[in-house]
């Protein structure tokens, strides 16, 4: 692997960039691997990288039905934060945040993790109560999160409308300074390059047809479009398609896949310094380094794998953006796209072992998967390597749906009164 640095860039610039080699080889499948990971997104590639780096397991293949990073990794709005309410979630996302902070150096690939602060707006008394609960809980968990008055919020993000007459007036905000964004594609590429350098095979355009189990019921490999690949262990990290893959192993999951849309504006000079999320109004926005305003929309109401999504959601999202940031009314939407998010009943992920021996799963991240990437990948690698839960992913089991011990971040924001 060519080491990336300012020097190597300069050197190559002088010779017409002829010295760069491929960042990862396009591997053909071997007959057998110690571990096969299904899904070459940030989570799957990351798990392969940590298997190799931290557990010395390098006979690993990451298989994808398309091109690597082509699923939700390359389709999200890149928000990274860890100010979650429940201890379990806060620990998982904070673990991820710790890894995000050193990821560029770890991978020798600039993933452009940018600590520009994520601000969540409170628009009613219930939001205030709920966010303050977050702030207090985060403080005692050692997670960065602070409360801002409307005026402080406006100072932090000048385009914000804090008029008391607004339909949804800003009553305050929770700010996590340590949070921010990263360059999504670079995360997949960086993990791919670093994993490949440690011997991991990345096999693209190779749909998995079924997970094969032996007579004892344990996993023995995967049937793919490029033939059967034997594997001692299989980990599925296929986001919206996880249900389909796991079904082939006879494992049914509490998952549903929904279309989620996102969009960007035309690029403009820096005008928006942070990330702002408004749950009540359904608006999420940041500005990319390229200058585009990056905006998250909601999920359509029905299960779908179409990656299309309807117009009304986009209309609502942009109305919400213009409500919170009225100066952007004349900005133009450049491009919108859709992804498929897999959602669990409690809106928290499932990471770990399954009822099938040597089969592992990492799914159900809903709309929050990107920010968890290093944390989920890192703990999944642990679980695959040791066949036991990592202390951080241990609460994110499949069993919780039987016992009722849900990690219900969605319900915690329930509005009734």
């Amino acid at each position: 692997m060519t080491h990336f640095s300012a020097m190597s860039l300069l050197k190559n610039a002088l010779n017409g960039h002829k010295g760069w080699r491929e960042q990862w080889p396009d591997a053909a499948p071997k007959k057998e691997y110690d571990v096969v990971i299904v899904g070459a997104g940030g989570h799957g590639l990351g798990a392969a990288y940590y298997l190799a780096k931290e557990h010395g397991i390098t006979n690993v293949a990451v298989i994808d039905k398309g091109w690597l990073g082509g699923g939700n990794t390359g389709r999200n709005t890149t928000i990274i934060r860890s100010n979650y309410l429940y201890d379990e979630s806060a620990k998982m996302y904070d673990h991820a945040l710790d890894l995000w902070e050193g990821l560029s150096q770890d991978l020798n690939y600039n993933v452009m993790f940018s600590r520009r602060g994520v601000m969540m707006l409170a628009h009613n008394v219930h939001d205030v109560q709920s966010f303050q609960r977050h702030v207090h809980s985060n403080r005692l968990n050692g997670v960065d999160n602070r409360w801002l008055t409307p005026e402080e919020a406006k100072r932090f993000c000048p385009p914000l409308n804090i008029s008391r007459d607004a339909r949804y007036p800003v009553m305050g905000a929770a700010l996590q300074m340590r949070a921010g964004t990263a360059r999504h594609d670079a995360v997949a590429w960086g993990y791919a390059r670093a994993a490949a350098a440690r011997g991991v095979d990345i096999i693209q355009n190779c749909p998995v047809i079924a997970i094969r189990r032996d007579a004892s019921g344990a996993v023995e490999g995967v049937d793919t479009a490029k033939g059967f690949i034997r594997a001692k262990k299989v980990a599925v990290s296929a986001a919206g398609h996880t249900s389909v893959v796991m079904q082939s192993a006879g494992v049914r999951l509490p998952l549903e896949s929904y279309p989620l849309q996102a969009l960007v504006s035309e690029p403009v000079k820096p005008c928006f310094p942070c990330v702002v999320m408004s749950n009540a109004v359904h608006a999420y926005m940041s500005q990319s380094d390229k200058g585009e305003l990056v905006i998250g929309s909601g999920t359509d109401q029905y299960v779908s794998y179409s990656q299309r999504g309807g117009l009304p959601l986009i209309e609502h999202t942009l109305a919400a953006i213009c409500e919170v940031f009225p100066i952007f009314n004349r900005m133009r939407m450049l491009r919108k796209w859709g992804g498929i998010v897999d959602v669990t009943p409690d809106r928290s992920a499932i990471v770990g072992k399954t009822p099938v021996k040597n089969l592992y799963v990492n799914c159900g991240w809903g709309t929050g998967g990107f920010k968890a990437t290093p944390g989920a990948a890192h703990t999944l690698a642990w679980t695959v390597a040791k066949d036991e839960p990592h202390p951080i992913n241990a609460p994110f089991t499949l069993e919780r749906f039987t016992t009722g011990r849900l990690i219900d971040e969605a319900a915690a924001a329930a509005v009734a009164h």
Binding site: S137, E323, M333
Partner: protein, 1001 residues
């Protein structure tokens, strides 16, 4: 008038000058011009700077696909008028009187831009360079590198003032929607309309006609093209076809829904009153005909981006449609026949054509003969290897190619270089539908394959070339649409004279004898992506076109890849060594052209952003100075401050007045559901945790509703009015959810039950009277009901009249005081309120809002669902175990209460909390620990759910969910806050009048 304007030519009005400014300098254009055509008429090509290298750029197109000539525009006094907008395409913006135009992405000026230093360092800024560096030292990314990169990026400035314009939207249903009013679109619309179908025809330009507007020499059915267009439009109008210009089909959604953006005022000199700027049309069509034509491709060669280098078809449009010659001395370089016609038109209009450079070895004889007739030098089998000129192209180097080898080249002077790399069908909308494309080896283009929607593609959009072919195809598509809708279609013929048929070849980069690593051959002009960037990406392992796109940003500019996608693919597939379809085409994403946020927001701005529900009594509250809070879609009176009072003072006063005498509260937002029918009681038994069979008529009961997961979803007081009739109340925010949940069970699980549900939330206005004097205020107004405690005990309901209004009168209490809730038909709500206020005057009746309501109920330990519960709280956790019918075998959620985690020790339970110092009010959401000195992360026992200063008790009170809290009664816990740790004692939640003496009146 400028010498570049050709008198009498084009569709502009030569007698109607229009004044505008560009970078502060005044110019004149003509009515009908775009900003670009007007500037070109004034000899101005330099209109912008590129994204990365800040290279000088001029328009390369004459339409909405323009990547270079992006400008900022405003009216009414510039940016502060709120109508500034960045990144407007000068080639599409119609000229209007007083239009203010400024160039972008330059400092200090367009002609001298310090950002152009990047251009000198271009070798450093190769594709993906930022992934490889800026990593050391680690902290520099946030503080140094990223801010610098961000400041350099972006094109125009964002608006900084609120937009005063309005935006509109409509739904439209039509039998046939035709997108694009060029030759194929016109004949398709006409064919469909002749069959009797309702037809809608839309076009993004100011007028219809498409390519024919740029080709007036063509004859159709014996008429000059422009006369033919007029005749078609006449007939379309006679047939009642809805024609919409300045209307872009931006997205193609499920089941033939197409979003259109109609621009209504941007072309007008002055803004009419009440006119929306833009309108979103959500069109649902029985059949769609896409006739969006084809886009001309640039050629990729070193220096193909200088101002003055543009598409040949664009030059032809500027000449024929706008009457503007784009230069005096042109070189044409092409791989397609179409540019020859452009050259001839320009030559005939007085521009000298220094040469036609064709990459092909042989060209149709009629073209070479026509060139010879005009004395134009023809250079077949030639390439272009370089251009010169800083702010405008001044010469070009051409070279013959023999057997694939570039021979010695030479320079030709010019002031414009017109290029044509062939044409690619415009299939963006088709791609939105996930319709599949197939690669056509002959045309070297993607063509439409399988359609998933009811749509046709006509004309150049499916690879047909020449007007006759397009016109005939339009007729066929219109007829096919009509037939698909069950109508009779008739074939008709069309005859074209002087048709401009032709063909061409496709290229990757043009061959060169220069150093390919030094070549600045641009593929994506705006994003400064060069051919070698694409090759570098492939060399680095980016083999999918999606990877190449993302790594180089090719195709991600504001032209949405219209200029760059196919050229990028040709180069990438050459580099990968696979055929283009195996490398893939990136997905086209909506919108077709960038569309304002305002258009999507439509009417939903300001007061119209979302419904604000108000009660019948809201106007009184507003008139009496209430502060309001939003609760779901409602706004509710929060408190009623008197002069000089803050919320704390007002709430203290309201609480004391209510406990002392009587308070009045607008409870109209409570959800209300009428549950009616012989099986009503059975239904209630199945839905709610409580038993209902023995509830007497005229009595009411507090009901708890769970989700099937066993957690509390809602609560409310439920009255039985008849054996078969219940009046159910829900929380304000839960009303719609509860009704939907009940309907779900009733319709799909228990359809056999004879019971029906009707929402009556808004049928009734509800006024709550609480306090020891409540009965005294109310009783004189009541008729038809004995108000004594015996006749109307606590938790009972009666039908009577109050102030002469028919009412459902509940006696219940959410405050611990003697309480009544009076429901009257909503139209009388305000009258009832005023009557009670009047009757209460002698008792100093005090109106109070939601905050006081919350304090009063907290003093009694009554929960608010959603505040004291959070979706993970089971009845027993909230001390509501008593509300579960002991003899019941099933109700919604009952089975879940037995799951292991719900019967485990250590669940969080709702308890009271009294701070050691009664003056300290805990913050809601504050976390509770046993040991405040432990290190972080701390073990948290729970959190404060409700916390108030109780004026009645003269101290603060709080409720909290605490692990195993009920077993900790009397124990001290700690609440660590940033400014210190508070101690608090766990108590009962019933802080006031625990024996309920105050109800016994």
């Amino acid at each position: 008038m400028s010498r570049f304007r050709v008198q009498g030519k084009g569709r502009v009005r030569h007698d109607a000058p229009v004044g505008f400014t560009f970078d502060g300098r005044a110019y004149d254009g003509l009515r009908g011009d775009t900003v670009a055509s007007a500037l070109l008429a004034n000899g101005v090509h330099l209109m912008g700077r590129s994204f990365k290298y800040h290279r000088p750029r001029g328009p390369v197109c004459a339409g909405t696909e323009e990547p270079n000539a992006l400008v900022g525009t405003s009216r009414d006094g510039g940016a502060k008028g709120g109508r500034f907008e960045p990144n407007t395409r000068a080639t599409a913006q119609e000229l209007r009187q007083g239009l203010t135009v400024e160039s972008q992405n330059r400092l200090p000026s367009l002609k001298f831009d310090v950002g152009a230093v990047n251009d000198r360092l271009y070798m450093l800024f190769s594709a993906g360079f930022y992934y490889k560096t800026f990593m050391w030292p680690r902290s520099f990314w946030d503080r140094v590198y990223e801010p610098v990169i961000r400041a350099a990026a972006g094109l125009g400035k964002a608006p900084d003032t609120v937009d005063p314009d309005r935006y509109a939207s409509r739904y439209l249903h039509t039998d046939v929607l035709v997108v694009g009013a060029g030759p194929a679109g016109l004949t398709a619309a006409l064919a469909a309309a002749r069959s009797g179908a309702e037809v809608t025809l839309v076009d993004e330009h100011a007028e219809m006609g498409g390519a024919l507007l740029s080709d007036p020499g063509v004859g159709i059915d014996g008429m000059p093209a422009w006369d033919w267009i007029a005749a078609q439009l006449d007939e379309l109008d006679r047939l009642g076809v809805r024609r919409m210009t300045r209307t872009t089909a931006i997205g193609y959604y499920h089941q033939n829904m197409v979003g259109l953006c109609e621009r209504l005022t941007d072309h007008l000199d002055t803004l009419p009153d009440d006119a929306p700027r833009e309108r979103m049309w959500r069109v649902r069509a029985g059949h769609v005909v896409l006739a969006q034509g084809a886009l001309e491709k640039p050629l990729v060669f070193d220096g193909n981006d200088r101002p003055g280098v543009m598409l040949a078809g664009a030059a032809q449009t500027y000449l024929n449609r706008y009457g503007v010659r784009v230069g005096d001395l042109a070189v044409v370089v092409t791989s397609h026949d179409s540019a020859w016609h452009a050259a001839f038109d320009l030559a005939d209009a007085g521009t000298r054509i220094a040469a036609i450079v064709d990459t092909r070895a042989s060209v149709r004889a009629d073209l070479t003969e026509a060139a010879a007739r005009r004395g134009i030098r023809v250079l077949a089998s030639h390439t272009v290897t370089a251009t010169w000129g800083r702010l405008r192209v001044k010469s070009v180097r051409v070279a013959p190619v023999r057997d694939g080898k570039v021979q010695g080249g030479y320079r030709i002077d010019c002031d414009c270089l017109l290029m044509c790399g062939g044409w690619t069908p415009s299939l963006h909308l088709f791609s939105h539908t996930k319709g599949t494309l197939r690669w056509d080896d002959v045309q070297q283009a993607f063509l439409p394959d399988r359609s998933v929607e009811a749509c046709q593609i006509a004309g150049a959009g499916r690879g047909l070339w020449g007007y006759e072919a397009a016109l005939r195809d339009g007729i066929a598509a219109g007829n096919a649409a009509a037939e698909a809708l069950g109508r009779d279609a008739q074939d008709s013929a069309v005859l074209v004279a002087n048709d401009r048929t032709g063909s061409g070849v496709s290229h990757k980069e043009l061959p060169t004898d220069g150093d390919p690593n030094r070549a600045r051959a641009f593929v994506d002009f705006q994003n400064d992506v060069t051919a070698k960037d694409i090759r570098l990406a492939v060399r680095e392992g980016m083999r999918s076109i999606e990877h190449v796109k993302r790594y180089t940003t090719n195709g991600m500019a504001t032209d949405q890849g219209k200029m760059s996608n196919v050229n990028g693919l040709m180069i990438a597939s050459d580099a990968v060594g696979k055929a283009p379809p195996q490398v893939g085409l990136t997905t086209f994403r909506p919108p077709y052209t960038p569309t304002t946020f305002g258009t999507f927001a439509g009417y939903h701005r300001g007061g119209q952003f979302e419904v604000t529900r108000k009660t019948p009594i809201d106007a009184w509250a507003e008139a009496h100075g209430a502060a309001f809070e939003p609760v779901s879609l409602w706004r509710r009176a929060w408190y009623f401050p008197q002069a000089g009072e803050d919320m704390h003072a007002a709430v203290a006063r309201e609480c004391l007045a209510t406990r002392r005498s009587v308070g009045i509260f607008d409870a109209s937002t409570l959800g209300k559901i009428e549950v009616s029918g012989p099986d009503a009681v059975e239904f209630m038994n199945r839905m709610y945790t409580n038993p209902w069979t023995k509830l007497g008529i005229g009595r009411c009961r507090y009901g708890v509703l769970l989700g099937e997961d066993g957690y509390i979803r809602d609560d409310g007081v439920i009255g039985r009015l008849r054996d078969d009739l219940f009046h159910v109340t829900t929380t304000t925010g839960g009303a719609a959810r509860v009704l939907a949940m009940m309907e779900d069970y009733l319709q799909t699980e228990w359809p056999d039950l004879d019971v029906w549900l009707t929402s009556t939330t808004e049928q009734w206005a509800t006024v709550a009277l609480n306090g020891p004097d409540a009965r005294k205020v109310l009783a004189p107004l009541v008729e038809g009901q004995d108000m004594s405690a015996e006749a109307l005990p606590h938790m009972s309901v009666a039908e009577c009249t109050v102030a002469g209004i028919p009412a459902r009168l509940f006696r219940l209490s959410f405050t611990g005081e003697l309480g009544f809730e009076i429901n009257v038909p909503a139209r009388h709500g305000l009258r009832l309120w005023e009557a009670l206020m009047q009757a209460g005057a002698d008792y100093d009746i005090c109106p109070y809002g939601t905050e006081t309501m919350h304090v009063l109920r907290a003093e009694k330990g009554f929960i608010i669902v959603g505040q004291d519960t959070d979706g993970t709280v089971a009845p027993d956790d909230a001390n509501l175990g008593w509300a579960i019918g002991k003899a019941k075998t099933d109700f919604v959620g009952m089975r879940s209460l037995r799951r292991p985690d719900l019967v485990a020790k250590g669940r969080k339970q709702l308890v009271g909390l009294l701070t050691e110092d009664g003056a300290v009010r805990l913050e809601e959401g504050a976390q509770i620990v046993a040991d405040p000195d432990q290190p972080k992360p701390m073990k948290m026992l729970g959190h404060v759910t409700s916390s108030y200063s109780s004026a009645t008790l003269g101290r603060s009170i709080a409720m909290a969910l605490i692990e195993g809290g009920r077993d900790m009664d009397g124990q001290i816990v700690h609440v660590p806050m940033p400014d210190g740790v508070h101690k608090a004692r766990i108590t009962s939640t019933n802080f006031y009048d625990p024996e309920g003496e105050r109800l016994k009146v």
